[in-house]
Structure formats: structure tokens, C-alpha cells
């Protein structure tokens, strides 16, 4: 669907046409892949994905390959295949571009690749490509390209590709047409894509540039000259507008009025603004530096502060694994990054949970409870879309019980709400949304916990973060977070009633809140079973855990498979092996609620029994180990967390990057190695830096203030500078 061609004055002879931007050169800002291994293509497409929170696009080869899986996703647009659960809809490849030189296709697997590299420019949010290709006839072409999802205009995707014939003149055919149709329907949503594309070239007797690209075309090219295709693609959906087709077309036409270099500069500047707000600098560990920037890049690429009705799925907008479903991953693992560096985005993520509160209420009611029980997996509506079973590769049909039993998510979301409130004092959010979430989740726990003959309240038949053990009673994490949720529910009622009595009355009326409810929550919280053993100082992860078989995990190393595969589901359920931090996770979130000796004792007990079957696990272990002063262990886990996506030996990232693991890595650096405590007086660092980290510096926002924190090598004092945060 072409727009008008933009008429530039013809270039004078000798004037070169190059890409309208240049890549970042500092190695700690780029991820580089040299000499493609095609069997790794799915992983690379995920790692090199571009996005802006509205749209995300895998870093696929423009011309395709036998293993290419190009996909573009628009946040919040789901479709449901028959017999399946909703999944993010995939838009066909907007960046497809194939060329042939004198009839010979220019493809990685077809000729000789004299040079080939892809570069993910984290600082500028641009995917670059540099390629020197020799065909069977010996013709050498130099191809360079860039691709981006504009951070300055979230509906805009830009691609620019140059071709330079190094040792030939001749005919090049270009196929740069968007696959038909350019309007798609995904469930009830219309997605419209409009493109404007043209080719620039040096002045030539046979061709007047720019050439509008409206279909496949053949171009006469000359040795030593460079030709450039610019493609501007606008995407709109019926979620944004009633007229997505017209709006997309108009948008594509309008952006043509602006020079491509200017559009890219606007995008680039938007990225620089984001990095100014969130970059962590490490002096002394280039790998860790790059890994943290990689983490921040993908988190920023997934967030859209302008859309309150989407969240960030487990693989963000980088792949179709996990179908774009949203888990507790968002609030516990990703949200802290946004809360402290990009609060507008954090707010939007929490508003998604407010808008899906009706579904959470419905789920609670369906199970016979009050208040709000959030979906374990949600898509656009907040209804639970957890698949009910899976056929494992050993042929076993595995029933998936998390959808029904993994209920700690309600408390996790409440925790995210309260953390955001503490960080921002966003009154509007608290009054319009946050308080309601806190109250309704507290209500859920008040109905979920049951009094028993021992005088305690118990929560039976749940799954905690450790998913190796299902349908357990009094999971320490669930009970601990439920207790916190009940207490915070009470606290927020007193806060709102005290400071905003008029809004309080409205809230009471809307929620039919009984005046005695908050008091009952407090009493219940006080009497909720904890699993703490005074004698040992340990929390029993769930009732009966201490009676299970102890297995020495070290005897299984080295390994490349998870423990539940090696042991089998039945044996692991009878053992003390845990999938990920559970009790330890509780300590992280409620650090100050436990004395130091209890934190240390429980970490020492549970850490050796953790099989790290979840990508969420290593970063949290790094964080806690750092806070407990075990630098060696912290660094080992930090490296493990860094490698989840970036190491290339397990095919981990084929279906998308691990967004929660990336958020966890950021937290490990900030709350682990920097040891930040967030107090009412502001952030206080208690650093435990690795010895080879000469300096760690970071910036975050807290209570409307921008805090710049520089932590030099051990023994030197920290520097803290504070100023008013930009709005």
C-alpha cells in the first residue's frame, strides 16, 4: 500500500548515498554476531529483536533463510486458534527484502559470505547489518542495513538498506513489497499496515532517483556506486482508532514529508533520553556491563506508557513462545526497573491490572472466594488463559494446575502496586486504581485462609513459586505474602480514609466495604500460619517439606537438563529439590521483616536444594548472596543469570528473550551488588561489589527526586547526588 513518492532533487554525480545513521562503536553498547550459524537463527532473531512497547519485531534476516521465523507483534492484539488459548497475533514480515544480482539471489546460504555481521545497537535501539557477499559468478555486493521500531513514534517502523556493487555493473532486481494483505484481522481487532518506500541513488542517465517502490522492480546499478532503499511502515489497529486503515495510510504519507535521517534522529534521541534515566555503568566488567544494558534494552523495548491495557508477557514482543501471556513475572521481576527508572511505564503496567480487575473478581467468585484472584496467565481480558495440560516429550500428559492453584499472584500484584506508591506517591493512581487493587486482593486472602482447630488460619492446596511441589499446604511464600497483603490492605484503608475522606467514602460505597473488614484482615494476618520453627530459625517451605527426601544436587553436575527431567516428576515431588527461590523469595521482598540470622540460615538451607529449573532463579540467588556478603556465590549466580539469553549453548532464547530474567538481573545489580534499600528518606546503598568492579554508578527516581549513586571500589565512600526528577 504505497504512499506518494517523495521528490528530491537528483543527486549530483559522485554524491554518495549512505545509510542515514551510523552505529555505536563502543563495544559495551553493542551485541555483535559475526558469521551467522543458521541453526542458531531463532535465538538470534529473539536477541536482536527491536521494539517500542507498541510493536516488536524479531531480528530476522530480511531476505529470509531456511530457518527464519520472522514475526512482528502488536501489544494487546491476540488471536485464538481453534482448541487453543489466546496468543499474540503475528503480522507478516514488514521488513522482507530480497534482491537478485543478474538473476542470482542474494542469500546467506546461496553464495560466499566474505563478511557478515549483525549488530544490536543497544544505545540507539537499532539493528544493523553489514554484509559482503560474493555470488557464484564472482560478483561482490556490499549490503548494509538498519532497522528500528521508533521510540519517538510508536506506530512507525523504519528500514534502510544500501547496496554497493563492488566489482560489477548490471541489473539488480528488488522485491520489497509487503506481503498481501496489508490489513489483517486477529479475533476482533483489525491491524492495518501502510508502507512508503523508495530507492535513492546517484545521478544516472538511465534512472531518475528517487524511485518509488510499489512492486518488484529491476534497477541498473553501477560499479562503485551506492543505492539505498528506505522503507517507512506505519501500523495502526482498531484498538487505537476506528479507522486503522485510513490512519495508517495517512501516517505513512505524513512521515514521508520528513527526511529519514531526521526520523531516525528523533528515535535515537528518545532512546538517549531513556538511557539517561536508567543506565547502569560498571567499570571493570565489560561482560556484565553489556548484559545489564541488554537487559535494560529489552525491558525498555517492551514498555508502552501510553497504553494501560497491555502488560509485558514472559517473552515480551520478541517471540511467540508463551503466547504473549502475562505472569507474576511482570510485577515482581520487571516492574521494579520501571518503577525506579520509568515510572510512567510502571503506572501503565499497573493500570493493566486495574482494568483486568473484573476478571480477577470473577475468578475468585468462580472458586468460591471474595475479592480478586488474578489469573495465573492472562492475555488481554484478564481471564485465566493457562493451558490446562501439555504433552511432555516423554509422552506423558501433564496436567497443568498452576492456573487453579498458583494464587500468590494476587499478593504479587498488590506488592507491585504498593512499591509503586512508595516510590512515586502518585495519588491519582492510588485513588483511582491502586487502593482498589490492594483492598480486593486483601479480601481474597481473607476468604481464602481458613481458621482451624489449632487457632491458626491456614491456606491449603496451593502452588508456591516452587512449582515442583503442587497442591501443598501453607506454602511459606504464599502465606507470607498473603499476610503482607492483608496488613497492607488495612494500611491503605487508613491512609485513604485519613488523607482523602471524600474519595474514601466513594471507595467504600463502590466496593461495599464493611467497616470491620480491615480489622478482620489484621487479626487474620496475625494468626496466619507461617511455618517458622523458632528452634532452627528455618521456615518450612510447606507443611511436610522437612520430611521429604534430601538429594545432593551436586552429584548431577554438570548437566544441561532441568532436575525435574532428570529425576522425573514423581521423585522430584517427593524430594526437597525446589525449582526456584520460594522462602528465599519471601525474604527478598520483605527483607526488613526478618532478622539477619533468619535470612542467612534460610538461604544457607534452601540454596543448595534449588535446582534452578526456572530462569527467574539465578538472579534472585545472586541478589540475596550479595546482600548476605557471599561475593563468590553472588558472582557465580550473576554470571549464570547473564548467560540465560546471551550464552549460545542451549537454544534457550529461540522463542523469545526471558524478560523476567532480565529484570531480575537488573535487580541483582541494584539491590544485590549495590545493596540499595529504599527508605522513606531515600535510597541507601549497602554495596557488596565484586572486587573487579571498580565503579558502579546508577540513576533512579524516588519520591519525585532523581538520585545519582556512584559506588567506587570497596573501601571508598559512596557518592549520592539528588535533584528534582524531570516530569
Amino acid at each position: 500500500m504505497p504512499g506518494r513518492s517523495r521528490l528530491n532533487s537528483p543527486r549530483s554525480a559522485g554524491q554518495s548515498v549512505e545509510l542515514p545513521a551510523t552505529p555505536t562503536t563502543e563495544p559495551e553498547w553493542v551485541l555483535v554476531e559475526e558469521n551467522t550459524v543458521l541453526t542458531r537463527e531463532h535465538e538470534l532473531e529473539s536477541l536482536f529483536a527491536i521494539g517500542n512497547g507498541y510493536v516488536g519485531s524479531r531480528g530476522s534476516l530480511a531476505e529470509g533463510s531456511p530457518l527464519s521465523a520472522p514475526a512482528t507483534f502488536v501489544a494487546g492484539v491476540f488471536e485464538t486458534a481453534p482448541g487453543s488459548v489466546p496468543g499474540l497475533a503475528t503480522i507478516p514480515d514488514w521488513s522482507h527484502l530480497s534482491m537478485a544480482v543478474e538473476g542470482h539471489p542474494v542469500r546467506l546460504e546461496a553464495g560466499t559470505n566474505l563478511e557478515h555481521r549483525r549488530i544490536l545497537d543497544l544505545r540507539q535501539g537499532i539493528l544493523w547489518r553489514e554484509w559482503r557477499y560474493q555470488d557464484a559468478a564472482g560478483r561482490v555486493s556490499r549490503v548494509r542495513g538498519l532497522r528500528l521500531a521508533s521510540m519517538a513514534d510508536r506506530h512507525l517502523l523504519i528500514q534502510s538498506v544500501t547496496l554497493s556493487p563492488e566489482n560489477y555493473s548490471g541489473s539488480v532486481s528488488v522485491n520489497a513489497v509487503l506481503p498481501e494483505p496489508t490489513t489483517w484481522r486477529a479475533a476482533g481487532t483489525i491491524i492495518a499496515v501502510a508502507a512508503a518506500q523508495h530507492i535513492e541513488g546517484p545521478a544516472s542517465p538511465s534512472t531518475e532517483f528517487p524511485v518509488l517502490v510499489a512492486g518488484p522492480l529491476a534497477l541498473d546499478v553501477e560499479l562503485g556506486k551506492t543505492y539505498r532503499l528506505d522503507r517507512l511502515v506505519a501500523i495502526h489497529t482498531s484498538r487505537d482508532t476506528d479507522q486503522p486503515v485510513a490512519v495508517a495510510r495517512e501516517h505513512a504519507e505524513r512521515v514521508q514529508e520528513t527526511d529519514v535521517a531526521t526520523l531516525i534522529e528523533q528515535h535515537r534521541q528518545a532512546w538517549l533520553d531513556r538511557w539517561q534515566a536508567c543506565d547502569i555503568r560498571i567499570d571493570g566488567d565489560p561482560a556484565a556491563q553489556r548484559a545489564l544494558r541488554f537487559a535494560a534494552y529489552h525491558l525498555l523495548s517492551a514498555a508502552n506508557p501510553e497504553d494501560e491495557r497491555v502488560s509485558i508477557g514472559a517473552r515480551a514482543l520478541t517471540g511467540s513462545a508463551y503466547k504473549g501471556h502475562v505472569f507474576w513475572d511482570t510485577e515482581i521481576f520487571m516492574l521494579p526497573f520501571f518503577t525506579l527508572t520509568y515510572p510512567e511505564a510502571a503506572r501503565a503496567l499497573l493500570m493493566y491490572r486495574f482494568h483486568t480487575l473484573p476478571a480477577a473478581r470473577a475468578k475468585a467468585a468462580h472458586l468460591g472466594y471474595r475479592g480478586a484472584l488474578y489469573a495465573w496467565e492472562s492475555a488481554d481480558t484478564g481471564e485465566d488463559v493457562t493451558p490446562p495440560f501439555v504433552i511432555a516429550p516423554d509422552g506423558e500428559v501433564v496436567r497443568i494446575r498452576a492456573g487453579a492453584l498458583e494464587q500468590h499472584i494476587s499478593a504479587d500484584i498488590a506488592y507491585g502496586v504498593w512499591s509503586y506508591w512508595r516510590a512515586t506517591s502518585d495519588e491519582r493512581f492510588l485513588l483511582d486504581a491502586g487502593a482498589e487493587i490492594l483492598i480486593e486482593t486483601a479480601r481474597f486472602w481473607a476468604s481464602r485462609a481458613q481458621p482451624e482447630e489449632d487457632g491458626r488460619y491456614h491456606i491449603r492446596g496451593v502452588i508456591g513459586p516452587d512449582e515442583y511441589h503442587e497442591c501443598v499446604d501453607d506454602n511459606a511464600y504464599t502465606n507470607g505474602m498473603a499476610r503482607w497483603n492483608l496488613e497492607t490492605g488495612d494500611a491503605v484503608t487508613r491512609l485513604v480514609a485519613g488523607r482523602w475522606p471524600e474519595q474514601w467514602r466513594a471507595l467504600v460505597g463502590r466496593l461495599a466495604l464493611d467497616p470491620d473488614e480491615p480489622g478482620r484482615w489484621l487479626a487474620l494476618a496475625r494468626d496466619l500460619y507461617t511455618g517458622f520453627d523458632e528452634r532452627t530459625g528455618l521456615f518450612e517451605q510447606f507443611q511436610g517439606y522437612f520430611d521429604l527426601e534430601d538429594i545432593d544436587l551436586a552429584t548431577f553436575e554438570p548437566r544441561s537438563a532441568p532436575m525435574d527431567v532428570l529425576l522425573g516428576r514423581e521423585r522430584i515431588q517427593r524430594s526437597k529439590v525446589i525449582k526456584q527461590p520460594d522462602v528465599v523469595m519471601l525474604f527478598y521482598l520483605l527483607w526488613d521483616c526478618f532478622p539477619p540470622e533468619v535470612r542467612a540460615a534460610n538461604f544457607r538451607y534452601y540454596e543448595p536444594r534449588c535446582g534452578h529449573g526456572s530462569s527467574l532463579s539465578p538472579a534472585i540467588h545472586a541478589l540475596i548472596a550479595a546482600r548476605l556478603g557471599d561475593g563468590t556465590l553472588a558472582q557465580r549466580y550473576f554470571r549464570q543469570a547473564m548467560e540465560i539469553d546471551l550464552a549460545d549453548n542451549m537454544g534457550n532464547a529461540a522463542g523469545g528473550i526471558h524478560a523476567a530474567a532480565l529484570g531480575g538481573l537488573w535487580q541483582a545489580a541494584v539491590f544485590g551488588f549495590a545493596g540499595l534499600s529504599l527508605t522513606d528518606a531515600g535510597p541507601e546503598p549497602h554495596p557488596n561489589l565484586p572486587l573487579h568492579w571498580r565503579v558502579l554508578s546508577l540513576r533512579l527516581q524516588w519520591q519525585g527526586q532523581q538520585h545519582d549513586i556512584t559506588l567506587p571500589a570497596q573501601g571508598s565512600p559512596a557518592e549520592l547526588r539528588t535533584k528534582e526528577a524531570k516530569r
Binding site: T39, P558, N649, A654
Partner: protein, 274 residues
């Protein structure tokens, strides 16, 4: 010679005859001609040759019988090279096996030098008839092993057989260093999503090496000792032929899985040098 050839060495022992049902079936599947090869110290007239190999004239319909003089292994390898043989089908041993010995001397020498895949038939298999309904391809997730896929896929397609790909998750084995390798998902965050994604990725990487179009392919994950799992799954799934990729090393602890499978599996094994 342009017609596909399968070399079948027979030394006249009853053990060696165990290969015939397999060789005949493979020749029919592949449209190949069997070259039945006997290596002796001297030449014999054709009927005497047949008698020495324990064959009747009817046994060699649609085959060609050849005699060579000299070292058996060298002669077999020469024949395979000269005919550009597609396969060699032979017995693991014809003399009584020494304890823990996997292959007899001739079979081992042929395996080491073969220019094509070698199908090894254990004399104790005692296959009256043999049909190819199901192949088992153990795969360690590395691109190198995928090279064994091509002959397996070709056979499966021609025979209309099912191809079962088996990956064994084993403790004590680090992730392979080879780029492009795929292992079981080390992080099984949510199995309802990880398993389908992993299975799809595994198969797609195989298909990148060799088209699986038209094939019935299933992927199975085992756990524990690779050899034991291969033998177990082969038995449970009534496998007719196991395809094993072999990197050419035999001494000491090398090829431990190959040795164990050849000794213990209840069906023939095709060894593909990668």
C-alpha cells in the same frame, strides 16, 4: 555403475546369514542391488561359492554374487568404494564373541574405513523376516549429529516408516559446545509453553539440515544413560532400525553409547560416520 548398491559380506558362517533379511528389505526399499561378497583365499566356481556361503540359488535373486581374494575387511572396503555403495550390511561378528567385545575384527575394520553407512546386525537377532516400519534416531542436539538424519530420513521416506527422534537428558554431561546445539530446556519456566516450544525448535533445526517433508516424525525425550534409554525406547516402540551418528573414535571411553547399543539392542543398528 549408476544403480545403487548394497554390499553384503558373507563368510559362510551361519551367523553371517543373519543379515540377509535386513539386506533384502533395504534393497527393496532403496531400489538397490545386493552385492553379496565372499572373501576367501582362492576362487571357487559360482555354485560352490553359494554352497560355501550357505545359500541356494533362489536366495540370490535380484542380487549379484562376487568373490574376492585377500584380507576380508580390505576387500569389503575396496568393493564399497569401487561400487560407490550406498550401504554395507554385515554381521557384528561371526566367530563367537569375546566377552565385552562389541565387534569382530572384520566388522570393526570395515566400520572404521567404510565410505558409506554400515548396518550392523547382531547374529542373535535371528530375524526371520524384517520390515522397516520404524526407525529410531538418537540425537544429542548438535548440528554434527544432524548429518545422520539425511540417510535416516531418506530410508524412512522410501519405506513409509515412522522416524522417532530420541534425545536423552543425562546428568554428568555439560551442554555441548558446538554452536547451534539444542538441549532440553534447562529452564522449564512453564512446561505448558516450554515443551511445545522446545519440541518445535528441535524439529525445525533438524529440518534445516534435511527436509522432513512427507515424513512421520515424532520426538521423544528420555532420561538417564543414553545407551540404556536408546535400548529401552527401541524395545518399547518396536523399532526396526536404530541410526547412530559416530564421530570415528572407538578406543577407550569413546563410542560408549554406540558399543552398548550394538551389543544390547534387539534390532539392527545403522552407523553413520559424521
Amino acid at each position: 555403475m549408476s544403480e545403487p548398491i548394497i554390499i553384503v559380506p558373507l563368510d559362510g558362517s551361519e551367523h553371517a546369514l543373519a543379515v540377509l533379511p535386513v539386506a533384502k528389505a533395504l534393497s527393496e526399499i532403496g531400489g538397490a542391488t545386493l552385492h553379496i561378497l565372499h572373501v576367501a583365499e582362492g576362487k571357487s566356481p559360482p555354485l560352490a561359492l553359494l554352497e560355501r556361503m550357505g545359500l541356494a540359488p533362489a536366495d540370490v535373486r535380484r542380487s549379484a554374487v562376487h568373490a574376492r581374494i585377500g584380507n576380508p575387511a580390505a576387500a569389503i572396503l575396496d568393493a564399497a568404494r569401487e561400487t560407490n555403495a550406498r550401504l554395507i550390511v554385515m554381521c557384528t561378528h561371526t566367530a563367537p564373541a569375546r566377552e565385552a567385545q562389541t565387534l569382530g575384527g572384520t566388522a570393526f575394520a570395515v566400520l572404521k574405513g567404510a565410505p558409506c553407512p554400515v548396518v550392523l546386525v547382531h547374529p542373535e537377532h535371528r530375524l526371520g523376516t524384517w520390515h522397516l516400519h520404524r526407525l529410531l534416531l538418537p540425537h544429542d542436539g548438535t548440528p554434527v549429529t544432524s548429518a545422520a538424519l539425511r540417510p535416516a530420513a531418506e530410508l524412512a521416506l522410501r519405506a513409509g516408516a515412522e522416524l522417532v527422534v530420541l534425545h536423552v537428558a543425562a546428568a554428568g554431561a555439560a551442554a555441548p559446545a558446538e554452536q547451534g546445539s539444542v538441549t532440553p530446556p534447562y529452564y522449564l519456566d512453564q512446561p505448558q509453553h516450554e515443551w511445545p516450544a522446545w519440541a518445535s525448535e528441535f524439529i525445525e533445526r533438524l529440518a534445516c539440515v534435511c527436509s522432513l517433508s512427507g515424513l512421520r516424525v515424532s520426538l521423544v525425550l528420555g532420561r538417564g544413560s543414553p545407551a540404556a534409554e536408546i535400548v529401552r525406547v527401541a524395545a518399547e516402540r518396536s523399532t526396526d532400525l536404530i541410526i547412530l551418528a559416530w564421530r570415528g573414535k572407538w578406543a577407550g571411553k569413546h563410542a560408549a553409547t554406540l558399543k552398548a547399543v550394538v551389543r544390547e539392542a534387539s534390532c539392527p543398528t545403522m552407523v553413520v560416520r559424521v
